[in-house]
């Protein structure tokens, strides 16, 4: 019979099993003795503290569990199963707001870029080949405008054609 079959036959005390040789037998006896000695020495801990700790860790807080309001914390009731949908609602809302903001900026910026009054006239109309555009300046205005009094200017304004004005250089 092999050694392992012999071991399977019966389960001896740990200190007595696997006695392959004297030294190993001595070591395992020593291990058992040391373990017994240490077990007797080791302090006995109170399991109650751990029980309380594990229970507290596993139990969700009462305020969340039963919907009790915590003083000082305003809390709207969340319907069951809405946790995931609430998240997606926030995402969709943010996306909509973002898209709206971008659209509004494009709407504001683009027309302004097209007909910006601050832009020089030369940049508004691309100069064609061979035509040199001169920007309008105060010095190029006729002298009657410069020397005109307020009533005269008003009268001139009344004479100006209303509606689309095409400027020719």
């Amino acid at each position: 019979m092999s050694q392992s079959q012999e071991l399977n036959r019966e389960e001896p005390h740990p200190a007595e099993d696997l006695c392959l040789d004297e030294e190993l037998g001595e070591i395992q006896r020593q291990l058992c003795d040391d373990a017994d000695r240490l077990h007797a020495l080791f302090p006995v801990r109170d399991a109650k503290r751990l029980e309380a700790f594990v229970s507290a860790s596993l139990t969700p807080p009462v305020s969340k569990q039963e919907g009790v309001d915590v003083p000082g914390v305003s809390r709207s009731p969340v319907p069951s199963g809405s946790r995931r949908s609430g998240k997606w609602t926030r995402v969709a809302l943010t996306a909509c707001l973002g898209a709206g903001l971008v659209g509004a900026m494009m709407w504001v910026v683009k027309p302004a870029g097209k007909d910006s009054p601050d832009e020089p006239v030369a940049s508004q109309q691309a100069p064609e080949a061979g035509v040199k555009a001169t920007p309008v300046s105060i010095t190029s205005l006729p002298t009657e405008f410069l020397n005109a009094s307020q009533p005269e200017l008003e009268a001139l304004y009344d004479l100006m054609p209303k509606g689309n004005v095409s400027v020719e250089y």
């Binding site: 389960e11 190993l24 291990l31 029980e51 594990v54 229970s55």
Partner: protein, 197 residues
């Protein structure tokens, strides 16, 4: 084999802790050699058990399942931080480095006793051998229970016990050889050095 609680879902966690705390804590102390690490390890073992209670199918005893968690956590901890970071090492080194500090004040009795015992040598063994030796000679589990706890065949349990004991013997022999060598060196005295040459 005795399976007292096959349906664990009906068993409150407080009851599991109450019934198995002592043996898990004892095993953790033998494994780590100090009460601080043993406390942490025991607490974490029961926390993991409580979280994974659904996975327990009741095919093994609760305590073998708990031992399995304990040994896995210990292995993970050793892999993560190494044995150098163990609090025990701090105590150990503070004892040897500062002679003014009282060892009793820093290291409890069980730590110094553990260091004197063979279990401090078991810590130096590979994880597989160390675990079977602890389960067999400290916790006195049967071969079948050890196989169940570690999820290994029965033959592997026996061979690991044999190899564990053999490695332990080699370690002890080497220690004895070093001690004898030192003794011999001291008894012979320092060799005289001829400075004039």
């Amino acid at each position: 084999m005795n399976h007292p609680h096959t349906d664990l879902n009906e068993l409150p966690i407080e009851q599991v802790i109450d019934q198995h705390f002592d043996r898990v804590y004892r095993a953790a102390l033998i494994l780590t050699g100090n009460p601080w690490d043993a406390d942490d390890l025991t607490q974490e073992t029961f926390m993991v058990f409580a979280r994974q209670v659904d996975r327990f199918e009741g095919r093994s005893a609760v305590y073998t399942y708990l031992y399995g968690i304990l040994l896995n956590l210990d292995r993970r901890e050793r892999r993560k931080f190494g044995t150098r970071n163990r609090k025990l090492r701090v105590v150990w080194e503070s004892e040897t480095q500062s002679p003014r500090s009282s060892p009793e004040a820093e290291a409890p009795l069980e730590v110094s006793e553990w260091k004197k015992s063979l279990w401090s040598w078991v810590e130096k063994l590979p994880a597989g051998q160390r675990n079977v030796l602890i389960l067999r000679f400290s916790e006195q589990l049967s071969y079948e229970e050890i196989a169940e706890t570690l999820g290994i065949p029965l033959g592997t349990v026996k061979s690991r016990i044999f190899h564990g004991l053999s490695t332990l013997r080699t370690l002890l022999d080497s220690r004895l050889n070093i001690q004898e060598g030192l003794r011999e060196f001291v008894s012979r005295g320092l060799p005289s050095i001829d400075c004039q040459a």
